[in-house]
Symmetry: C2
């Protein structure tokens, strides 16, 4: 069956686009989810897929979906594999659709501030392309250099400058996608429309389950005229949250607002004292000056001391560094970051309960959090845990236990169980707590309507029926 | 059949909630669409519906949908009837679901800045309820006093202060709705989530076709600390657009930015000269001062003169006045406002071509436009036309011809064909130009998945298959 599938794909796309080499298949078995790497270590890793297809055009994507649809073969869209929730795990019969060859800059329009790319474009390369014209996409996920612009859409991503510049849904102008039946949709036209439900939203967060994103146009910005930094030391997390609430609810919007608990503050910079609150202000010079001054005055009024601005510079330098699993897992340690969001009145409790629960785990080496995305109604938390285990055979169970503790603390206080990494496999059994049973049923119905054959990335997003 | 339907509804909901009085039915035959009123004048008006149901609870809505579903009877959700695109027109067999009795304030949370209402809550009353606590929803459609918060969701509405405070999709925190099958969904939980596609978007712009919106929670704001006004006289529309582009793309966001062509400027205030550009700045005092100063400096650099600030006050006083059709239609005049959006490089051409085309119409009395919602990538235009006709029998055809001219001018330059009034009936045959054939097919598929019986507001949004 696999041989006939590969023959059909090669006939339709050309031989060079259908990779069945051992190295090619191995490199596309899974993404950056810790569990996949731990399974590899335990000798229980994901199998090689049937093949890796590298489309060069929309027509190649359509042809692949047509062949997969006829044969009911799973198709797993693959960007650059930086996802961390198990959104990509190959099965032996699956086609992995590696979008890396569709990586063109389609156009950059400096008058209307639009920039359009193939979905497989590397995020940092996209940002560098617009920067040449004095522009910025303004979307800076930690993975910016190892993710694609299409992946940003599929995961409903957030960047480090989101508090002023918005999350991906605030930056996207239009999305081009191929639906499982072969239709090409281009969603988004003018600056804003009231023309039925915004169908772009269907693709944002679709995690490869509703179609293949092939192109993205962003509503970009001019590079900021001016930048200023602020840093404060709060006596505890709640005091820092309250200062952030006052700043944002007063109508100020620093693009970066980050708050670290004591443990993470010291890890970031040894000059830190207590909880650390970092801000970057950007925009016209007069706005930046007024905002930095206001933030300082509000901190002073709250009795919160300033911290060295050099710590913000430290963060700017180190912000995209992530240690590889190969430095962690072979030592028998499981670790991860888990992002959730909660209302202002809930977030202190979520923090306390999740950290306390993680610390109860046998072998807990670290349990900490920072916040990094602020809204009028609340903010996110980004937990980090590390737990020493007895080795590969138990790592997955220990890991899932740590996740469960964070999910339950968040759920208990009404927070959202996923802020910006998505659902993938690690959260799909929690989706009902987020959407309710009827919300999950609605999503299932949409999936069924768009992908009746169930070929698009099965096993992801939706819990088993 | 109708008698048995009414019996079933009365049995399930209680007699008082099922209105079959002539006055009750007459008042709910249609919304504020000009065509419905012209048809009434021509003696060809919409029929009375089978009944008007006024649910008092979610359970009442569920019971109504269950009865309608069994019998395949159309259900037409009705807010306050201020829609202007034919989203509500009764048929003789239909149930009009008047949400007016579900009008409670559910809660106001001044710490997390959330305010929750039944969907039938009058918009101005909702705003007044939060204002008592020093808050604002910040959503000011012209219809604020004659529309419901649920209607804002259903139509994907915009308010006059949108340029800083966003359109309805930027203000909504969560939406409660009853789906045609009876499921209650509550969409939206924490401040932000990446938990699959944002299902709130399905309801925003659904125009009664996907379910019944029963509750809305907004992410509100603190009332602004400070306000400043700006007014400028631009020599022509293009010069004004260019100044708006420079201001918004520099990173400033006045909540109100409005630009009137010469005709509308004079109609607003006789002190106006040329094209008029009005702004309201709101926020912390230092931000407002910096922004008003920057706008003034940018206008000066562009050679654009200041205009009397009193004109902004005139606008603030008169902004929600709309003449009734009874003052216009009996004189044989058809008139309407039509809102679209376009990129900065397109908007001048759309303006020129639409106005020129309208002026070619026999009997054209007025053809003008203003802009009122600004984005990084472009802005909207709000056309006004008035055309003298030979009377009721030809009014609809003349009206549709005027619409066609605006739709075609917009389409020709790649604009969005509906900015914030929705599709209803007047635009449904243009939907394919906005979404493409495959986009319409996708929307049709979603409708079929959620409302397989086709009971929800048939004839609206989607073109005939």
């Amino acid at each position: 069956m696999t041989a006939s599938l590969i023959d059909a794909l090669r006939e339709a796309l050309g031989k060079a686009k259908v990779d069945t080499s051992g190295a090619g298949l191995d490199a596309r078995r899974h993404d950056y989810w810790m569990v996949s790497h731990a399974r590899d270590l335990a000798g229980e890793g994901a199998p090689r897929p049937a093949c890796v297809v590298r489309p060069a055009s929309i027509e190649d994507v359509q042809a692949t979906l047509a062949i997969a649809g006829e044969r009911r073969v799973p198709v797993i869209p693959f960007g650059l594999g930086s996802g961390v929730v198990g959104g990509v795990i190959a099965s032996a019969e699956a086609i992995v659709l590696d979008m890396g060859a569709m990586n063109a800059t389609r156009f950059i329009d400096p008058v209307n501030l639009l920039a359009s790319f193939d979905a497989g474009k590397n995020g940092l390369e996209a940002e560098e392309a617009v920067a040449l014209q004095g522009l910025t996409i303004g979307h800076w996920p930690q993975s910016v250099a190892i993710s694609t612009v299409g992946g940003w859409i599929a995961t409903r991503a957030s960047g480090q400058f989101s508090t002023a510049y918005g999350n991906i849904e605030d930056i996207v102008h239009s999305i081009e996608a191929v639906l499982p039946g072969g239709d090409v949709v281009v969603l988004g036209r003018g600056p804003r429309a009231s023309a039925g439900p915004d169908l772009r939203s269907l693709m944002m967060g679709s995690e490869g389950c509703l179609g293949v994103i092939t192109g993205v146009t962003f509503s970009v910005r001019r590079a900021a005229q001016s930048r200023a930094l602020s840093a404060f030391s709060a006596p505890d997390m709640r005091a820092g949250f309250e200062l952030q609430r006052q700043i944002i609810q007063s109508g100020w919007r620093p693009p970066v607002m980050r708050q670290y608990d004591e443990r993470e503050a010291l890890r970031l910079d040894e000059r830190a004292k207590g909880c650390l609150l970092l801000m970057i202000h950007e925009g016209p010079a007069a706005l930046v000056a007024a905002q930095a001054q206001a933030a300082g005055a509000m901190a002073k009024a709250a009795g919160i001391a300033v911290a060295p601005l050099g710590i913000v510079e430290t963060w700017l330098e180190r912000r995209n560094h992530v240690p590889g699993w190969e430095q962690i897992l072979p030592r028998g340690i499981v670790a991860d970051t888990v992002e959730i969001s909660g209302a202002w009145t809930a977030i202190g409790n979520i923090y306390d309960h999740a950290v306390a629960s993680l610390k109860e785990m046998e072998g807990c080496l670290a349990a900490s959090a920072h916040s990094s995305h602020v809204y009028r109604s609340g903010l996110n938390l980004y937990f980090t845990f590390a737990v020493a285990t007895q080795g590969p055979k138990v790592m997955e169970a220990v890991y899932l236990d740590a996740w469960r503790r964070i999910m339950e603390a968040t759920d208990r206080h009404g927070g959202s169980l996923a802020h910006h990494h998505g659902i993938g496999r690690v959260r799909r059994d929690y989706l009902e707590r987020e959407l309710g049973a009827s919300g999950v049923a609605l999503l299932r119905r949409l999936k069924q309507a768009i992908d009746p054959g169930g070929i698009m990335n099965p096993g992801v997003l939706l819990p088993d029926a």
